[in-house]
Structures are given as structure tokens and as C-alpha cells.
Symmetry: D2
Subunit: 245 residues, 4 copies
């Protein structure tokens, strides 16, 4: 069965008439990312999208149950995402669903809830060049990806990035201004896998760049559930339980 990816986007910047994002992403960033994934994975993936203004933000239990990997793009509407939906996504991740958090999603409720830190960083939007370096050459996410990836114009995200120590550090970026950033990193949470990838912003055409698509496609395949269920619960085990098996 094809990998089932759902791309969630708050989809606000792109709706503002004549805005820069509206011009760069006429189909929304979720639309652009969908195209990137389909170009890389073809029939091996089925991509759906969901946005903030849909009922339950488009993330009903049924949708999540049928999602192998959820991608998340949010920015100015983080507080508008309902706590109930966040809890639902959180439970899905702990139960095995993959989650890929993009760019300004570092400050989303779901990412902060999974990380247990502030997820803060230094930033500046002034047309820095971002150069993304592979520091994990045998990781599935970096296979077939150019090293480095050069993003001609991009918002600067700089250290200190207040995240837990990654299970795996995948990419480190530099910016024209001299800053650096751990731009790709993974964590396991319960039975699910989480990948954070910072390149991508509403004001720059990053999600039209083929190399970025390759990373996201690799990440989606990597984040596929190994198993899927409820978050694990504490369970009583009497003396000798495993000897009786």
C-alpha cells in the first residue's frame, strides 16, 4: 500500500491577496509540498492536505488513523490550533504515526508538547543564503540529497535552538550572516518518529526546490510507522509472567 502522507498547513499567509506568499505559493505551501512529494515518490505515496479553517482543522480521528506521516506547517496561528486536536495528534504520534515539523512549526503546540522545551531560536528575515550540510551521510533521510543544499534566499534561524538533544543530528545550516542552525534532527517519541526540518518559509520559494523535496520524501519514508496503536500504558505483570508464556 502506498505511504499515506497528510500535509497540514495553517494556510493564512497565502490567503492574503497580493501578499508575497500568495504569489510564491498560489496553491498554498501545502500544495507546493504535495507536488514535491509526488514528484519524488510517484505512486508510492498518497498525499492529502488539511488546513486550519476546516472542521477540527481537518485532523479528525479518522483522518489521523489513515495517516502514516503527518507534516506540519504553522506560524502565526499557533494559538488558534485547538488543544483537543493537538492532544489527538500527540496521541497518534505516541502510538506510532510519523510527524515531520517544518520551519516555523518549531513554535507549534504539537512540537513543543513533544519536545518538552521552549523550542526558541534566533531569527531574522533579510534574504540570507542558507547552506544545508549533511552531518549524517548514512542516514536514510540524506540518501541522494546534494551536499550541501544551497538555498539562495531564506529566513535566518540561528542557535541557540532550545530543543532536547536530538537522537540523530542530520543537517546543520549556515547563513550569510554567519549564524548556524541544527536544521535537521530526529527524535523518537513513544512508538512514533519525529523529524524537524527548518528550511521553508512563506516569503521564499524554498518549497519549489527539488532538493528540499528529496529530503521531505526521504523523511516521509523514514517516518513511516513501524507499528501503530494507542500510546503505551503502564501494565501490571505478576511474578513469573514471562515464564508462563
Amino acid at each position: 500500500m502506498a505511504l499515506r502522507v497528510t500535509i497540514w498547513n495553517e494556510n493564512i499567509h497565502e490567503q492574503q491577496t497580493d501578499s508575497v506568499p500568495a504569489k510564491i505559493y498560489p496553491n498554498g505551501m501545502h500544495g507546493a509540498i504535495k507536488t514535491l512529494l509526488e514528484n519524488e515518490l510517484g505512486g508510492a505515496v498518497t498525499v492529502s492536505t488539511a488546513t486550519l479553517d476546516e472542521p477540527e482543522h481537518g485532523l479528525t480521528k479518522d483522518v489521523l488513523d489513515k495517516t502514516d506521516v503527518l507534516m506540519w506547517w504553522g506560524h502565526e496561528a499557533h494559538p488558534k490550533v485547538s488543544d483537543e486536536v493537538v492532544q489527538r495528534v500527540y496521541d497518534a504520534v505516541l502510538g506510532g504515526m510519523g510527524l515531520i515539523v517544518l520551519h516555523s512549526g518549531h513554535y507549534s503546540k504539537i512540537f513543543k508538547k513533544l519536545m518538552g522545551t521552549s523550542c526558541s531560536l534566533r531569527w531574522r528575515s533579510s534574504k540570507d543564503r542558507e547552506v544545508v550540510w549533511n552531518v549524517n551521510p548514512t542516514h536514510p533521510i540524506t540518501q541522494g540529497v546534494a551536499d550541501p543544499i544551497v538555498i539562495p534566499l531564506q529566513e535566518m534561524y540561528g542557535e541557540y535552538f532550545d530543543i532536547p538533544t536530538p537522537d540523530e543530528l542530520i543537517f546543520i545550516s549556515s547563513f550569510t550572516g554567519g549564524e548556524v542552525f541544527r536544521s535537521g534532527a530526529t527524535w523518537k517519541r513513544g512508538l512514533g518518529k519525529v523529524f524537524y526540518f527548518s528550511p521553508g518559509d512563506q516569503d521564499y520559494p524554498v518549497y519549489h526546490q527539488k532538493e528540499i523535496g528529496k529530503v521531505l520524501a526521504n523523511a516521509a519514508v523514514w517516518a513511516k510507522p513501524v507499528m501503530r496503536g494507542e500510546p503505551i500504558d503502564a501494565t501490571f505483570h505478576p511474578d513469573g509472567w514471562f515464564d508462563k508464556n
Copy 2:
């Protein structure tokens, strides 16, 4: 200045007249832990206690501001701890306060919020012997601690323990029944340090055991804030900001 430790205990089991915990811990588990710490650290520590039934559970902003390291024992009253107090403790940890989570505190709101996982485990209370092994011999928490520590009678906590990969694994325990458990582990969260230590239960006299006191004293010293403030917030940095310094 002496290290300022606050021991928080829900203090419920010990209040039940004629209960086992009331007999083992007539001054509460917080009282027993206080004695352990004072025996190890003497004048180098000032120990306060706080319990669930105090206003704001005894954890006002003023109390937390004057606490270097908070120890947390909870069990059946996890849901009764107010979300507001949990958020306050969370902010204090991200801002630098040390936190030591004990035994059944694995299921406390504050630990789950900091870990981002279910923190579930296998368990059984049937008088297993727990043997605690040092797997990090040069870590500050293990200095001067017997290897192994033998706890004659203790509740069994077994893997799989659903926690994020520890930054540092410190202790692994075995139990009579054959189970194992990562019984001591550390994580950094924001500017604060977190140590989880599983030995200790209301039905067994673990908190009267000197070796356990040595571990808790070492952990308190280790968890002392390096710096202290608010959780880090994302900040704008214009081009060239650090060159102007």
C-alpha cells in the same frame, strides 16, 4: 550559599491511619528524604518540603524562585495537581531549576510534560529484590555510591519504559522476577537538568536506606542551576548583530 532543595510529596498514603506507609514513614516520605539529604550534605543544604494539600500545593512562584532543586514524589493524586502549578514548575525547569523525579512520579503531569512521552512501564508490587547497577562510573551522581545498591524489598518497575532516549543513562536495575529497568537517567530541558530515579515506594522502607540518600544528595548537587531565568524566548537578531559587539 547552601543548596536549596524543596521536596514535594503528595503525602496521601502516609496519612492513612494504620496503613503500611504510615508505619514506615511516620514523618512522610518527604520527611524521610529530608533526613537522608541532611545526613549526606549537612550544612551544605537547606531542605524545605511542600505537599499537595497546601495552598498552591506549596509551590508558589516565590517558593520556586527560592528553590535550586525540586524533588517530586507523587502517585495516586497525579490528576489532582493543578495545571497552573505544573506550568509554573515547567517554566522554572526550562529557566534553570533542577528537578528530580522519584519512583511513581514517572506518571506525574510534570514529568510527562517534560518528556513528551507516555512514561509508561511494567510493574508489580510483590516484594522483589531490586539491584541497582552503576553504568556511568564517572558521573557525579554515582560518586561514592555502592555498586550495586541492593534494595531488599521493592516494587518492580520493568521495561519497556516509554521515555525519550536519556542524555545520560546512570543506573540499570534488575528484579527478582528477572525484569530490568533504566532506573536512573538524566535529560536537559531548556536551562534545567532533570534526573529520574525509580527506587522508592510507599510500601517499602527504601527512603531509610543510606545508599539511596547518597544518590539523591549527589543528584541534588548535580542538578543545581548553572544559571537561572525565564525560559528562553525566540529573539530577532538583525544582520551583523554580533559584529557590532
Copy 3:
């Protein structure tokens, strides 16, 4: 193409007439492990074996070039393994070949050279039961593996195991005597993957146990090279090199 596994065994204990190992492993431990792998992987694997007494210990450059994953069992003949062959295996691992080190191989030249530590441990051979617990339920190596694996009789290997912090901790074992051991762990070294797995000893029939075969088969598939070449070498890169691409 089928995965190409080479099992290296010093093959000494099994050659001693009427010895316990000779009776348990009439085809050598390498023979038993070969059967385990073929039973699990069938046509998806091609298994070769090599032993100490062959020219160049059976590990010529040609053999290594055609090996995807090398398994290593050694014990009393560690010092007899030539430094030249060890260097050759080391270079192959840094260049991408997978390596699975078994049991007493913890003290082999190749494992110590890759780890950079003493790899020492506590031990006792007195018929302990070993119980092997899965602490990484979504790792490829643990899929389809019973949790726990019970090994009725086995040599005891106990902490402190002097290894570098594993990249991934996979299994923890307990023993009848109360000891614990990090019995399964992974490290990346250069472009290669290394898995250490402690169950298995010349005096106990561990390599006839189906669950052990499942672990070894999973590990072989996991350790398959992502890419293969020479160990990476430091390289000069002139200013602007990547912009010219």
C-alpha cells in the same frame, strides 16, 4: 541481490575432541549461526564462513569486498588474529561494511579498535538464566522478536561494560545472579554500522535458539551498507567550491 553475510569464527573450542562445545556445536558455532540466518532469511541471504586457521584467517581483501555484513565470534584466540587482517576489517567497516560482534568478541582486537575503550565487563560461567529485554521497540533489530527472550542457561556478562555511549541501546539483559548487561547496542563508525550482541557462548546452546536467530537476521539486514567505498579522507576544498557546482 541477496545480502552477503560472512560469519567469522575462531573455531577453536569446537575442535577440542569430546569438549562441551564440540558436542553442542558439531558444525562449529559458525555453522549453527549460518543455519539460524538461513532459516530466517532464506533466499534473501547468502552466508559464507571463515575461520582463524585459513590463510589470512579467511578474510582476504576479496572476501571482504564481497561481504555486506561480517559477524565475529572470537574468544581465546584474540591475540592470534593478525593486526593486518584487523586493519583490513577496520577499513572495510569505515568504508561501509556492517559488523556484528558476538559475545566474547567484546574483547576482540577489531571491536576494541572500533570502540576506543577497554570493552571490559564482569563475568561468570555458572549456568545463569539470561533474560533479554527490548528497550527499543521500534528499532529494526527488535521487530518480530519475543520480549523478553529467555535463555535458560548462559554465561553471565555484567556491568560495568566499558563501551562508549551507544548510539542506540537495543537490549538489556538480567541474570539469575542479579546482574544486568547492555546486551545489544549499536554504533556508527565512518560509513559502517556496528551491532554488539552478547548472548551466545561456546558452552551453551544459545545459537540453536530461534529467537537469537531472529535478532541476528534482523541485525544483518539492518547493518547492510548504505554505500561502500574507502574510509573517508580529509579533502581540500577551495573557496566557493560548492557554488561552482
Copy 4:
């Protein structure tokens, strides 16, 4: 007792009359580093130096026994360091001595032996500016250190840096050319602590920069032995050994 630091330097570049290194470092890089450490730590440190051309490279067993922390600067003479001395330093580290490896020491025999990888990297010496960022704000090594440290002119060291996953990542650098580098990282090896720090080169006056001195002083204090002895050896433990204590 004051911390006993020994700075080892191959001391070749500085001996070449009229060379750039001879002009920048008239007392050798070891002399400059000695001054940096003494300026930061005053009477809390006793600094000795040793060089390649001394008998046993100045690293006799007696010298190492009296060394708490060894710093290592080497470059073109790596192959001239005797294997016997390397083994002696290796044993001292596994037995508890701290080791701080500087810049081109990434390719030293001792660093490669402790890491178990090629330790290769990309490089260019063409007057890049290096900006060193703190990614571990509560680590002892970063306390009181400017963030970032700006090094006006320095050799470029770029990823991929072929090292094992660090136990702790401390610094990440960027370079004018756009490269990034994990420029400060720690590993435990046996009972000893290892810190690698890349800033510093024979052709640039990095070791006259006060901020670099602060990092090295912090690192020396951090790397101080917790205990000191021989590398750990595998030991027999009969059934019940710890119950008899």
C-alpha cells in the same frame, strides 16, 4: 592541589626560521596556550609542556601519572609520534586522565585510536572568518564564554567530520565560505573525558585570543579525572558476590 595540565605540541612549524608560525608564536603554540591557561586559572593550575623532540616525546609514564589533563597539538608530524607513547597516553585516558585535542590533532594517532573513525574533514586555509556558536549553554565548558566567539582569520574545517556521535555537542562553527563544523564536542572513553576543539592553527593568532583561553581553561577543569587508575579489566565474579559484601 592545583590542576596539573601538560600541553603537548609537536613544535615544528614554529621552529622554521622566518616562518609565519615562528613570528606569531615565538614561544611555540604550547607557550601561547600555557599563557592563556595561566591568565584564566592563575594559581589553580600548574602548566607543563612537552614536545616531540624530547625523549619519549616528553611523555614518560612519570609525566603522565602526574598529569590531570593533557592537551595535544600536532599536525605534520603525526606519523613521527611513537606507537609506544600513543599506547601510554591511551591507557592513561582509559584510566581517567583528561585529554583535550586541538585543531589538526583530529588526525593524530591518539585521537583516531580513541574515536575509532577516520576523523577526516574538509579543509581550506584561505583566511576565512570562523564564528563559533554555543549549542550547549549549561555545559561547564561554555560558562563565561562569549556567544559567538568571532575568530577574524582561521583555517576552514568543514563537515562531514567523520567522528562518532559526540556524547555532548558543545560548539558549531561557520566559516566565511559557508561551511559549518562541529568545532567542540565531548566523549567519555573508559574513565577519562575527551574534548575536541578545532579553533587554533599555526598560521593564525588564535591562541592569543582571550575567549579561546576561556574555553580551554573551562575544558581543562571539566576534564579533570574523577578517579584515576589502570584501564578497567574484565573480572570474574562468582555467584552471589555482591550479597556477601
